[in-house]
Structure formats: C-alpha cells, structure tokens
Amino acid sequence: MDAQSLTYLFVGLSFALYIGIAIWSRVANTSEFYVAGTGVHPIMNGMATAADWMSAASFISMAGLIAFLGYDGSVYLMGWTGGYVLLALLLAPYLRKYGKFTVPEFIGDRYYSDAARLVAVLCLIFISFTYVAGQMRGVGIVFSRFLEVEVELGVVIGMAIVFMYAVLGGMKGITYTQVAQYCVMIFAYTVPAIFISLLMTGNPVPQLGLGAEVADGSGLTVLEKLDGALIDLGFTAYTNGSKSTIDVFAITAALMVGTAGLPHVIVRFFTVPKASDARISAGWALVFIAILYTTAPAVGAFARLNFINEVNETTYAETPQWFKNWEELGLIAWRDKNGDGAVQYRPGAPFDGKPAFDGDQRGESGERLLVNPTTDSSNEVYIDRDIMVLANPEIAKLPGWVIALVAAGGLAAALSTAAGLLLVISTAVSHDLLKRTIMKEISDMQELRAARIAAVVAIAIAGYLGINPPAFVAQVVAFAFGLAAASLFPAILMGIFSKRMNREGAIAGMLVGLLFTAAYIVYFKFVSPEMNTADHWWFGISPEGIGMIGMVLNFGTAFLVDRFTPAPPEAVQHLVEDIRVPSGAAAAQDH
C-alpha cells in the first residue's frame, strides 16, 4: 500500500477508536460530565493530562523551534514541564480536596464573591479560546498536508470528531479518548526519533543519542559537530543562546507559572478519587510528558545537523527528494543568489516574508522561482520550522507506515487538547455563569443540557477561528501563559496558603496582574510592534516573559490591600484549614 492509503487507514482507524470510546462513555449527570465522576485512575489521569497538555504545537512545532533556537529553546522545555512541580506541590491536591467542579468555582467560594468568580471566568474563557483556535488550525493543516483535503474540510471533520466525544461523553469521554490519543501520539513521536538516532549515532535512545558521537568516524559528538558546523556558517553555537539571561529567566518563569495556572490542566486533577491521588497523578502526567519533551531536543538537533549535511553547498539537483517535496508545498524555498547552482545555508532571512512563488516558473537549476524582494544576507534557503517533525520520516528514509503514523499522531495531539479546552469553556458557562450566578435554581438535567449546548457553541466558534484564523493568533499565545501566570495562579495559591487573604486583596491582585500583563503585551505586539526590541523592554524582559512581573505585582498588590481590609469570614478560614488536610475528602458534589 502507498503512504497515502496507509495514512487514510491509520487516521480512519484512530478516529473509529475515538468514536467507539465516545459511544461507550456517554454520561447522564453533571458530575460525570464535569469531572468524570471523580473515578479516574491516577495513572490514566496522568496519561490523559499529558495528551491534554501536549498540543499540536508541542507535537509539530516544538522540535523545530528548538532546532533553530538551540540553547534558547530550553525556555520551552523547562517552562512547560517545571510548572507540573508547582501544580503537584502547591495546587492540585488542595483543589481536589476542595472537591468542586471548576477553577472559577474555587476562586468564587474561597473569596466569597461573585465578582471574583466572574473575573476568573473571563480569564479562563480568554485563555482557552486563544489556545483552541491554534488546535483547530493544526487539525486543518495535518489534513491538508497528509490527506490532501482542503484545510476547511479538515477543520470540519475535526469538529465533528470532537463533537462526538466531548458533547456525548463530557469529561468522561474526553478522558478515555485522551488516554488513547496519548498512546497514538507518543508512538508516532518516538518511533521516527529512534530510527533517526540510530541512523545518526548508532544509539537507539534519542535522549542518549543527543550526547553520543556521530557515526561518521569523526569522533565528535552530535552537539560538538553541530556547534562547529553552525559557527563555520556564521550562526551562534547551538549550545549557547542569544537571548539575555534575564529574558530566559523571565520567560521560563512565566511559562512554568502559567502552565500551573491553566484551567484545562488544573481540572484534570479534579477527576481522580482522592487528594493523595492528585499528587501521584501529577507525577505520572510529567513522566508521560517528559518522554516527549526529552525526545524533542534530540529530534531538533539531529534535524538541524542533517539539514546542514544534506543541503548546504549541495547543488539543487542533488538535494534529497524531501527538499523538493516540501518546496512544492511552499515550506522550503531556495533562491540562487550567487548563481553557483548550490544551496548556501547561512544566518538571516533569504528574502522578505513567506515564499511567494512566481507561478510555475522554474530557475536554471530547476528550483521554483520567487517574487519576494531579496535581502542582503548570503543565506539562500527558507525553511518553515514546523516541517522538522513532519519531515523526519522522509529525512530518515523511513517506510510509508511511519509517515502515516505521524499524521495520526499530529491529529491526536491537536484533537486531545482542543477537547480539553472546549470542556472547560462549556463548564465555565453552564456551571459558573448559569448554575452559580445567573440561574441558581436549574436542575441537574437542565444544567447538563446547558453544558452540552455550551460545548456545541464553543466547538462552532473554535471551528470558525480555525478556518478564519485571526492574524493575531500566533502573537497572542504569550497572552495565555502570561495571563494565567499573572491572574489565576496567584489567586489560587494565596487561597490555599494564606488564611488571611481576603476578597479585596485577591480581586485587586488579579486585576492589577491582568491589566499590567495585558497592557504590556498589547503595547509591544499590537500598538508599537516596531518598539518590540530588548532596548525598549522593561528590565530587558520580552512580552513572552512579562507574566512573571505581572505575577509579582499580583502578589504585592494583594498583600498590601489585604493589610488594610477586614479578614475573611470565619467560615472561609475553616474552609482553608479543611482543604489543607486530605482526610474527609468527599466526592465532588453538587450544592
């Protein structure tokens, strides 16, 4: 069978599995819909959390990002894993002990205030929609590249699948589908990585292969060879960064704290039976995440080295087939600036903007001609970072079934994250807005219906955003983490660790953190993008890292306001004492 039919087969089989799980896990009450009836085994929940967390960006883009950033890419590796330590030690067990359904619910009850609940709901909806638009786009892109389906149709198919298991099965359906999706995804990621590691170093473990000697008799390790090659070409060494230390520090901190404050991750820990299960489950989640996150830097380094070896100073005719395949799709482009017929890979952009091809015109060597204005740099080749993972099987000359597997894996990554996000959005609407604020009298059945309707609406909006992505989607990702770090995380943390923290302090803190972070990002990303350089940043911290300062401001404001306002009521102080000990944990209950 050819790669195309195999891809249809693999994707079809994985979708059939997801739909099967959806039908098996239909739910009948809100507890099952919101938190899977708190009956999920900690290891299962760990796997589901890993799938929930690792999005299309982790699966498709991260290795490519690291390949081109080198050491600077560590901010993503540490930032997106270190948050789980905060989650496991500071938030998850206590929130599970509290035993309710949502994050805004905890904030609203702990700070005895509907205003606090509403601020939390707003943060949650904004963070989640920012995220989900990217996932739907990812679904569309995988469909269009591997199955030759239009992006729009791809998004609609993705919506239909998510609709099946999220609307029918709620959290229960999502959980068990995510477990299956994790397996598909991790298999699809590690198999090509193992083959490439074997090919490059003779070591089958990519994590060790990254430190091993290259199997070309040079006696140099992968990283030494890569450092040497990059310096020769005029790049910074791979193992040295070009970002300032303070910016690396701030971005890592903002991503870590932001990760711990993301609602769709936190709610996963509401689904295990006990508070002690929440602790161990976070450990399992990080194990499953770490498998992919420690493979990614190896894949990135191998891919970069491979690219230099096979493409640089090679004539166009002799470049590998994958080079021409991706050129056809516009993700690689080459302009022979010095007319020598060979590809020169150097720092800097080869031409302005994304490749715009001159119809089907071909140059002297057979390359596709471009209409983009040229640049001064001696670099001749454009590479889209996202192709690193997708092109891996071709680069390593792996059989068609591996390519098919990668397609199914990319879809699993995007769909699992999208479903988790859509669930927290619908829950925030049906539970926090309707049941707890606007229509307190509705019955469980009515609330369940409202949750399903909200999920349908959220899927439709997400699909629309996937088909018509607003130009700012890529730029607002910093928002999601920055806002979670500056608003939700401090409010939850103080709610557990400070008995004295009151309504006034928490709300003032959230608002200050939120407004400061949002204003900084909006200013540098939208109002004056030309000012977005290290010279103009406060303390040299980029918009990606400003959530750390927002968080500090949140804490500072909260404690200051708290000093001058009355202590929280007796009942709330008892509540705090109660969530600090695991004993007497009840199942999540309705009110």
Binding site: S74, G211, T239, F249, G283, R580, P582, S583
Partner: protein
C-alpha cells in the same frame, strides 16, 4: 464534662493539623529549592560556568537546561507524593 472532652479532642485535632501543615511546608520548601536550583540555577544562571564540565557527552549546563531539569522535576513530584503519603499516615489525616 462531655463538652470538655469534646473541646480537648478538638484542640488536639487542631494542633495535629498545625503540626501536619508545618511538616508539609518544610517538605515543600526543600523540594522547591531543588526545583529552583536545577532549572533557574543550573539551567540558566550558572549555565555558562557549568558548561566547562561534561556529562554523557553533554556540556553540563546545557544538559540541565534540556534534560537534567526535566528528569529532576519528575523525581521531585514522586518524592513529594510518597513523603506526603507517609506524613498523612503519621498524623492520621490520610484520605
């Protein structure tokens, strides 16, 4: 009489809870220091200096930034989960 016993039991329960919380905070403190040192310390602030040492063919600072910190994070969570299970039992506040 009965009320006194009840009050005494409550007082005792409350002091047990306080001791449990204190032990928890101490454990948290130790683990979070390690968390900070391996990532922000070894992986970022001391990265350049550590790069003069080598481990499994990696420069040490680079290794902490891209692999070592992640492995440590995993260990930290499991240590916390198991130590807390022991504390839960010791203070009789387990679930």
């Amino acid at each position: 009489m009965e009320q006194d016993e009840k009050a005494a039991a409550l007082g005792e329960a409350s002091s047990v809870r306080k001791a449990y919380w204190k032990a928890n905070l101490k454990l948290l403190g130790i683990l979070l220091v390690i968390w900070f040192v391996v990532s922000f310390g070894f992986g970022i602030l001391l990265e350049d200096w550590l790069n003069q040492f080598h481990l499994f063919g990696f420069k040490l600072g680079f290794w902490f930034a891209q692999q070592g910190s992640i492995f440590t994070f995993v260990v930290l969570i499991f240590v916390y989960a198991f130590r807390m299970r022991a504390l839960d039992r010791q203070f009789g506040v387990g679930d």
